[in-house]
Symmetry: C2
Subunit: 343 residues, 2 copies
């Protein structure tokens, strides 16, 4: 699996963009994966592995992950996020979708709206679209630039180069601060997009996803492809690589995205926080105090059982002590601490 | 005034930090200003000018201003902000004070907490302390760095150099996006700080400002001065200059800060938005429709007067039309538009 994963990722990972050409990656490619069933089995392995790794990421609370998804409409961003992240505890994962910016957002620097949604340490943040729209849709539709109300002297021919540079610096800064960045471009073909649009019209439960605006954007297909190619060329770096992933087969897209995220997490040497001697003593004292308490709890639980309340932060502990027992336990802990002090 | 302002600012503005030495600036300096009264008169001129400029800044809604204040305790940050900005419409000015970071803030990259408070276009944002604490107090007290929960492999000897670099890139990015940055270090002497601490003890209305923690920080005075000098050396740039302002005389500090902000605003060639021909036609149509309305309003105002309600967004217009009149005005405007279409 490891070797296959590595070969899957390497093929689509861009860490130095200078020579990147979009046409070198075929949207219909599925590399060595020959069937949907095979891909789905491998994806399930990835989902399970991701779930394990994310628990450690959360417990360790040092690193954070930022996954950025960019694509043409109907390339499968939403479905990929859903299927790849479905095994992850939502408490450790936050998805932010960026649509048309608000008036307040337009009145700020262009990174402001997304920065507010950056993940905390210990979490996987997912950006469904991102600040890259600033060098994609805004480049294809210059009228969107005017909406940002930049002072006219600052809008020069250098503006895209400046944005690439600013994004690169920003991403370098984030990685220096413990946030691993993975950028995914789901590369769908124009024909496959057409098929998916038509299926949105044909299937009633997909009607809500259909937008005439998306269809009109097809007229700008070549401009978008040029903007993507330039953006990836300028912003693929070793610390914040782009993954350009064939997207004509959804099952293949999902598998590669999953592999890339698992690979990044595995490179971090995640582990549950190690317990030092002092903490170990504290845990033992807590156990002693709780064991002493267990008698009281057993006595009272019978009488209290019908009125028993469940605490707000239950986890997977086998025994849920009733609230009263918990409070007593705390009191006893204090007592035992004090008696230790006076020993 | 212009010449004096320029000479006041030039003396303390650092745009290239490489050779900067803190000891070259005397905290007791007052340059050519010989009396408090003279300084206060000049400050009043500055306050008035700032108020005018800020109105244009707001109306034009293109540029934004970010003023950062850093200083040792009791150097006069709060008083300076109060006196310099007192003439400015609060709607166009937002002050953010950064104290001990929250757990949520510590769980993010170090720029996150301040970025959320960056000003909108058209506004003057004031940071009372800022992300510079990251290379000041955090450098003097390395235990604060541990609280940020950075992954250990990322905490290397290069960390301060990286932070300077990241801050420089971030500030370059902000200026490219229309936000003018002015950074003020209020340079107070250790003796003057002592006098001010004592006066906080002596005057009951200043007791709330006294903190024993601030007094303890005096033990780290030299470390702080070294951290300030290094920070200014590394982050004074032509696009985001530092102003190192003598702060043993509060009236002098305020005057120089005011002069620097006025100077920056004047360099922007601010003006009220120009009205083009189309907009002018729209205004004339609105006037015609309102004049037609005036008769109706006069008829109804008499009867409605006691129940008259004030709208939420009154401004300095001379006549406040009652709500009913306003609504009618809008309807008529629509009508006149339609009739124009059919003409």
């Amino acid at each position: 699996m490891m070797a296959r994963r590595e070969s899957l990722i390497e093929r689509y990972r861009i860490t130095r963009g200078r020579k990147f050409r979009l046409k070198d990656i075929d949207p219909g490619d599925t590399h060595e994966i020959t069937s949907k069933a095979q891909a789905e089995a491998l994806l399930q392995e990835g989902v399970d592995r991701l779930s394990d790794l994310q628990e450690k990421l959360y417990a360790q609370d040092r690193w954070g992950i930022l996954c950025i998804f960019q694509a043409m409409d109907a390339a499968g961003k939403d479905g990929t996020i859903k299927h790849v992240m479905s095994g992850v505890n939502p408490q450790g994962c936050q998805v932010s979708a960026f649509k048309v910016p608000s008036a307040e957002e337009l009145d700020h620097d262009f990174l402001w709206r997304t920065t507010r949604h950056l993940p905390e340490r210990g979490r996987i943040g997912i950006f469904n679209r991102s600040y890259y729209e600033e060098t994609l849709v805004v480049r294809v539709h210059p009228e969107f630039l005017e909406r940002q109300r930049l002072p006219p002297p600052l809008v020069t021919r250098r503006i895209w180069k400046e944005r690439y540079e600013d994004i690169n610096c920003f991403e370098r800064y984030l990685t220096r601060n413990g946030f691993v960045i993975l950028k995914f471009f789901l590369h769908v073909s124009k024909d496959e997009q057409l098929r998916r649009f038509v299926s949105r019209l044909d299937e009633p439960e997909k009607h809500w996803k259909f937008s005439l605006g998306d269809v009109h954007e097809r007229a700008h297909w070549d401009d978008y492809m040029a903007a993507y190619e330039q953006t990836i060329r300028a912003t693929a770096t070793p610390h914040a690589p782009w993954f350009v992933i064939p997207a004509d087969h959804k099952w293949f897209t999902r598998l590669v995205v999953s592999a890339a995220i698992v690979d990044a997490l595995e490179s971090l040497d995640l582990h549950f926080p190690r317990v030092d001697q002092e903490k170990r003593r504290e845990l033992e004292a807590a156990r002693a105090s709780l064991v002493g308490d267990a008698g009281d709890v057993a006595d009272t639980v019978v009488g209290l059982a019908p009125a028993r309340q469940t605490g707000g932060d239950d986890d997977d502990d086998d025994g849920d002590a009733p609230e009263d027992g918990k409070r007593k336990g705390k009191k006893n802990k204090k007592k035992s601490k004090r008696s230790k002090d006076t020993d």
